[in-house]
């Protein structure tokens, strides 16, 4: 249990050297490494924290943006839907108007067609009626009827007013040509004498007569003397009748276009045509009656 003082001194020196060595090779590098690592970790943590904060901020921002976007989307959607509805309504209205226009046009066209047809029918009917009447009268213009018509003609000459008589006399005096008397049929001698007699009564002098037949007069008789004309025939009646009828028709159609009824059912149209046709008939019959009367 001795203490070797040299050993003690040597060990003290050894220990101090070891302290220096370990400080140099162990503690310093290790502590530095630890410090650096800690710093690095801290900085990384800070970075991470900053990033997290940033991410959080961005998240909030994005959320807000998303919300805004959603809201805008919804608004746009609503707006679009509303606009679409309005547009749809507009288009529908337009289509409806167009359809109405088209249908009214169609109706108008058909009405026009119908009118035309009606007019055609009326015209045809009219023509037909006149043709029949003309034919019937032509057929019926028997001698007895011709006689009757001559009688009426004579009666008419006798019933001439003073003024007319005067005009007739003047016309007669101005020419030396014989008085021309046309008729659809050849006048029998008896009637010729009757006519001559009545004219001579008016003129108060003897004169020459020329008798001619003219089938276009249709059961009628005509007296011509130097531009003066005295006539009676069914044909004349028919002409004036036709004129009257077409005038009435014109007036009627004019009235119709002015009134222009908006919608008409088939029923109405039918009634309309009935109305149109009936007056013609009426007129024809009236004229017929009138002519018969005369």
């Amino acid at each position: 249990m001795k203490i070797n003082w040299f050993t003690v001194i040597a060990q003290v020196i050894n220990f101090l050297i070891l302290v220096w060595l370990l400080k140099r090779f162990l503690y310093k590098p290790i502590l530095n490494a630890i410090d650096e690592r800690e710093k690095k970790i801290i900085s990384q943590l800070k970075d991470a924290e900053a990033k997290e904060e940033k991410a959080e901020k961005e998240k909030v921002e994005f959320k807000q943006k998303n919300d805004t976007f959603d809201l805008e989307k919804k608004e746009l959607m609503d707006k679009t839907i509303a606009e679409t509805n309005v547009q749809r309504q507009k288009l529908l209205d337009e289509a409806r108007t167009e359809a109405n226009k088209l249908s009214s046009k169609l109706e108008e066209t058909s009405k026009e067609n119908r009118k035309k047809l009606n007019q055609e029918i009326a015209k045809k009917t009219q023509q037909e009626v006149f043709a029949i009447a003309r034919k019937t009268l032509a057929d019926l213009a028997s001698v007895s009827l011709e006689e009757q018509s001559v009688n009426i003609f004579v009666k008419r000459i006798e019933e001439l007013t003073e003024e007319e008589k005067k005009k007739f006399i003047e016309a007669f005096k101005a020419t030396s040509k014989p008085i021309l008397i046309q008729s659809t049929f050849e006048l029998p001698h008896k009637q010729q004498i009757e006519i001559k007699k009545s004219i001579q009564e008016i003129l108060g002098a003897k004169t020459h007569f020329e008798f001619k037949t003219a089938p276009e007069l249709i059961s009628g008789i005509e007296l011509m003397a130097n531009g003066y004309k005295l006539a009676w025939s069914i044909s004349e009646y028919l002409d004036s009748m036709e004129k009257d009828i077409s005038e009435i028709l014109k007036e009627k159609s004019k009235e119709k276009t002015e009134k222009k009824p908006e919608t008409k059912t088939k029923h109405d149209v039918k009634e309309d045509t009935d109305e149109k046709i009936e007056p013609k008939k009426k007129v024809v019959f009236e004229k017929k009656a009138e002519s018969e009367k005369k």
Partner: protein, 222 residues
């Protein structure tokens, strides 16, 4: 029977003696220094580190924390001295697992040398911290009457440090040696294992006490 490795002398010239204690110390110093150099040569400063580096870091951080726990606020300043004390004693004691190894801490000369180092370190750190006068004042605390007692305590605790370490380690070795002659097989192994534990405990006690003394000097003067 040799009680101390001091008695195994390799070379002597007058006062200068190269004995087993010194040689073993040199070998341990070489071992510690080379191992440190090899490991810290390729230190990594990133997150991923080698296993050896990790082991060293654990040891050093533990020492650092211990110093801090005792009350020294800047362990980096004291780790060089206290850490070396611990590592040297611990390694010297752990090496008893090698056959024919005689720990240098089993020599009173070594323990005395270490105790003297602590004895010198206490005023060194005290003066470094608060100047010569500041340090000397600490001997007059709480009153000047306490001066002789303070001085006695200073010397006696140094001697106690030296003798405690020497006695524990030397006795451990002695017990194993004696037991080998009586029961040469299993029992010495158990005692050797116990010796490892004792060695670690002694290394811990020695360095902790040194830390306490230094801390006391630094805090009193501060």
């Amino acid at each position: 029977m040799k009680l101390s490795p001091d008695e195994t002398v390799f070379w002597q010239h007058g006062f200068i003696t190269i004995n087993l204690t010194i040689v073993t110390t040199w070998i341990l110093m070489l071992l510690l220094a080379v191992a440190s150099w090899v490991i810290t040569r390729k230190l990594k400063k990133g997150i991923h580190i080698s296993r050896w580096q990790s082991m060293l870091e654990i040891i050093i951080i533990t020492i650092k924390n211990q110093i801090k726990e005792i009350g020294l606020n800047k362990p980096e300043e004291y780790i060089g001295f206290i850490g070396t004390l611990f590592l040297f004693i611990a390694v010297a004691n752990l090496c008893i697992i090698f056959p024919w190894y005689q720990p240098p801490t089993g020599s009173l000369s070594t323990t005395v040398a270490l105790a003297i180092c602590v004895f010198m370190a206490v005023p060194f750190f005290g003066i470094e911290k608060s100047g010569v006068l500041g340090y000397l004042k600490s001997y007059l605390q709480p009153t000047f009457i306490m001066l002789p007692f303070n001085l006695i305590s200073e010397i006696s605790r140094t001697i106690a440090l030296a003798v405690r370490l020497f006695g524990n380690i030397m006795s451990g070795g002695m017990i194993v040696a004696i037991l080998l002659t009586i029961t040469p097989f299993i029992f010495p192994i158990v005692m050797n294992a116990l010796g490892l534990l004792t060695g670690m405990v002694q290394a811990y006690i020695f360095s902790i006490l040194a830390t306490v003394y230094i801390a006391a000097a630094v805090q009193e003067s501060g």
